[in-house]
């Protein structure tokens, strides 16, 4: 639904970087790996949180 605030595995705050990651790597066409490096999301546990996330608010919005 929304990006988790923290990485499930290590507890690092990753929500902070989601908007920029989304703007640059999802909507933009930058290389996701490079964007994550620049954002300081180093560990692969944190990186998978960003790479595998899908925003679903738009999908569930009509059913409030």
């Amino acid at each position: 639904m929304m990006i988790p605030v923290r990485c499930f595995t290590c507890g690092n705050v990753i929500g902070e970087h989601w908007d920029e990651f989304k703007r640059r790597a999802r909507e933009g066409d930058e290389d996701p790996g490079k964007v994550l490096d620049e954002l300081g999301v180093e560990r692969h546990c944190c990186r998978r949180m960003m790479v595998s996330h899908k925003d679903l608010v738009d999908v569930v919005a009509p059913y409030q």
Binding site: G11, V13, Y63, Q64
Partner: protein
């Protein structure tokens, strides 16, 4: 007891740092590590009173997300159990961010301001008042100030001889920080001197990159630990380490006074 500590920063940083401590016993190193994770208190939202929540998430889900937002925790001014009230009022269409939280105390603020709490559509409204409590990581993981806190032995690398001349050399992977003890063989780094501290990332964690064609021996350096400390933003690494050491000292003082009676 001998207490000749030597501390050296390998990668200094505000929220993430690596430093070497020499002369520390494994018991104390582990005590400090454990204290950093579970005994240094931080503020975290604990109770939320919703005024209105017409977003697509349930109150509980928003409460969970709020609890995980790190809040800056100044030293000295607060005691465990203290409460600070925060409030948020956002009307859609907009996204409620952690930065929209208004704190009653200027010293306790969200450490990160761009964490999305919930995306609000047209006409949706989120308004609540929340209590942040100062508590330790022992009671709930959201109060942990340190994330991924750990240590490794400092490792000393010595060249034992030449590798077989016609053999294909296997990679020799090593992670952590090494203490240079064979500078004359460190081909990749021309200004290497014995005693240098080198993070293994510098040679891609593969000793055969640094000492090509050599047979190497790796030993742990006794009583020398390389700490890797990251905080969630509630305070700096420096404060976290000092406060962790302080909690250990406080308990020792308490034990001493109770034993004396």
């Amino acid at each position: 007891m001998t207490n000749d500590f030597e501390v050296e920063f390998i990668e200094p940083g505000e929220r993430s740092a690596r430093f070497l401590v020499r002369g520390v016993s494994p018991a104390v190193a582990n005590g400090i590590r454990r204290a950093m994770v579970a005994d240094v208190p931080t503020f975290s939202i604990d109770t939320v009173r919703f005024v209105e929540n017409s977003s697509v998430m349930f109150d509980e889900m928003i409460g969970l997300r709020l609890g995980l937002v790190p809040l800056s925790t100044p030293i000295g001014d607060f005691e465990e159990g203290d409460v600070v009230t925060l409030a948020l009022d956002v009307e859609g269409p907009a996204t409620a961010y952690s930065g929209d939280l208004e704190s009653a105390d200027a010293m306790v603020q969200p450490a990160d301001e761009n964490i999305p709490i919930i995306e609000l559509k047209d006409g949706q409204h989120l308004e609540f008042e929340a209590d942040a409590v100062l508590d330790s990581g022992k009671s709930h993981a959201k109060h942990q100030g340190g994330v991924s806190v750990g240590y490794r032995h400092l490792q000393r690398v010595e060249v034992a001889g030449d590798a077989g001349e016609f053999e294909e050399q296997e990679p020799n992977i090593l992670r952590g920080v090494i203490e240079e003890a064979a500078a004359e063989h460190a081909d990749a780094d021309a200004d290497a001197t014995d005693g240098d501290l080198v993070a293994t990332d510098a040679f891609d964690n593969d000793l055969t990159n640094r000492y090509p064609g050599k047979e190497v021996e790796v030993h742990d350096v006794p009583d020398a630990f390389v700490f890797h400390v990251e905080t969630d933003g509630s305070f700096s690494v420096e404060e976290l380490v000092l406060r962790a050491a302080e909690t250990l000292g406080d308990r020792a003082a308490e034990l001493e006074s109770k034993v004396a009676i």
